[in-house]
Amino acid sequence: MLAGLGLAGPALLLLLALFLLPTLSIFVIAATDWQFGAQTLAFVGLDNFSALFADPTFRRALINTLGFVAVVVPATVGLGLLVALLIESDRSLRGFYRAVHFLPFMATLAAMAVVWEALLHPTLGLVNQVLAAFGAPTANWLRDERTALPVLAVIAIWQNLGFAMVIFLAALKAVPQELYDAAAVDGADAGYDRLQTVTLPLIAPATVFVVIAVAIRAFETFDPVLILTHGGPANASELLLHLLYVESFDYMRTGYGAAVTVVFLLIIMALTLAQARVMDHRRREP
């Protein structure tokens, strides 16, 4: 009887100490004015949250993040689906295309962000050199308020495209051939018809799953912000997780940082719960 508790004990104690109590403590810290290192603290109720939503920097970061996610998710999922459909539609070079599209997802993003910085260098970068060669206008991509956030979105799409593709490829493989044959008998013969009547409905659960997973990854974007823009210029590319980092660990405004953390946690938990629900449905299907 107690063997089970003995075996599960260490994991459960660590889970408590490293996951559950820290999560609860975030809510407690968010209700205080604590600054890391200070000897005293006072409970301030919801003051941190009202300060947060009155703070133009936080509001900018929240709006930036929502806009960023709203662009990155459809672009990543759409491109990932297109690439997966094309790869799956024929045998030739299948493994090669799959591997290339998946590389950015594996590659250390911190190192690749440094490469993106070189690509986007105002005078030496490939991007501006190519644009100039075609007589197109160039930009100082990472230092311009209009381009900094879109550039981060492009990097996020580039990085997550392969992830979406891999999930779609697995879903496409699971579509039974008989359904295509049946659709063909029913006269749905052209590629587009088959896509409409068979493929898309059958991979719909996978699509919902990919949408949420990519949304979570987009909300968690951090490395390129820290390395390339620091949220600038003038907060134009400030995102939630980077703001959380700056408030908590640069400014050491611990109570305030905890309030940002609570907002972040609620968003991610809502998405994860929605995802668990989809997964549950997917598993119950025959």
């Binding site: 107690l2 063997a3 089970g4 075996l7 599960a8 260490p10 994991a11 459960l12 660590l14 889970l15 100490a17 490293l18 996951f19 559950l20 820290p22 999560t23 975030i26 810290i29 459909l85 094309l86 024929d90 030739s92 493994g95 591997a99 290339v100 599209h101 590389l103 950015p104 594996m106 250390t108 993003l109 911190a110 190192a111 690749m112 440094v114 490469v115 070189a118 690509l119 030496l124 490939l126 580039w158 999930i167 496409l172 051939q177 295509y180 590629g191 088959r194 493929t199 979570i216 968690e220 951090f222 490395d223 820290l226 390395i227 997780l241 959380l244 660990f249 953390t261 946690l265 991610i268």
Partner: protein, 277 residues
């Protein structure tokens, strides 16, 4: 869509689109390699893929000597290995208990694991920072490892796999006099090898690539993992001489990409397994 041979215009169109997207996706990698082969004079002299004078040896030598890059890589290997070892050592017995043993509060305790799955790790950074500070381990290897020693995902995945292993095997092992711990590590874990490898691939990718927690927990140069190291390298090598920096980036990215190309199957299995999260 499958097993219907495509007409030749469709085949050509497929290759046109996929070759275009593949090229765009590959641009950063190609540019990184290209710059890592070039001398400073050529980097400022307009774009060509291959250098006129190979400067690769100089760039890669400088990357390895101008900063403690090898040290960063060794830190990365050591920390990833330690994290994975602890994760398996601590999660596997729990997974076995949840899958095969009866004990009071089993259901409620498993709910704690599921709640753990819901929590994004970045949320824990602030309390874990305070915890590491209290323990006096900030800016040590221990700070890089401790927050990740238990993995709710590992418990969840291993439990799923263990559920599929017949009880008869466990009864037989008990008759042979094996302890419960021995059953976990000598019977269950080897049988669950596919799940272990898939989880291992996922864990190594996540922690090799992690920048968020190391940038909070580590300040000393000699403790930095590759992600922090590459930033330190960039910050000291300003100017237009991108060669050594791109060589360093190549060296940091290479271990995972090489591992992926040799064992694609396992990485993709890990990804699909991680998709339960």
């Amino acid at each position: 869509m499958r097993r219907h041979p495509l007409s030749w215009p469709a085949r050509t169109g497929r290759h046109l689109v996929l070759a275009t997207t593949a090229t765009l996706v590959a641009v950063p990698f190609v540019w990184m390699l290209s710059l890592s082969f070039k001398a400073p004079s050529e980097i400022t002299a307009g774009f060509s893929l291959l250098p006129q004078h190979w400067h690769a040896v100089e760039n890669y030598t400088l990357a390895l000597t101008a900063s403690p890059l090898l040290r960063f890589l060794a830190n990365g290997f050591a920390v990833c290995a330690a994290i994975l070892a602890f994760q398996i050592l601590i999660s596997a017995p729990a997974a076995y208990a949840f899958a095969k043993l009866r004990f009071p509060g089993r259901q409620a305790l498993f709910a704690l694991v599921l709640i753990g799955l819901l929590i994004p790790h970045q949320v824990l950074a602030l309390p874990l920072y305070v915890l590491c500070w209290k323990l006096g381990i900030l800016n040590t290897y221990a700070a890089l490892i401790l927050p990740f020693v238990v993995s709710p995902l590992a418990i969840f995945l291993f439990r799923q796999f263990f559920l599929g292993i017949p009880d008869d095997i466990i009864h037989a092992a008990r008759l042979d006099g094996l302890s419960e711990t021995a059953i976990v590590f000598r019977i269950m874990l080897p049988m669950a090898l596919p799940a272990v490898i898939a989880f291992g691939a996922l864990s190594v990718v996540v922690h090799w690539n992690d920048l968020f927690w190391p940038s909070i927990a580590i300040t000393s140069e000699h403790l930095k993992p590759p992600t922090l190291g590459i930033i330190a390298f960039r910050d000291q090598e300003r100017g237009s001489d991108y060669g050594p920096l791109m060589a360093a980036a190549t060296i940091v990215v290479l271990p995972l990409l090489a591992a992926f190309l040799f064992a694609q199957r396992w990485f993709i299995a890990g990804l699909n397994a991680g998709a339960v999260k």
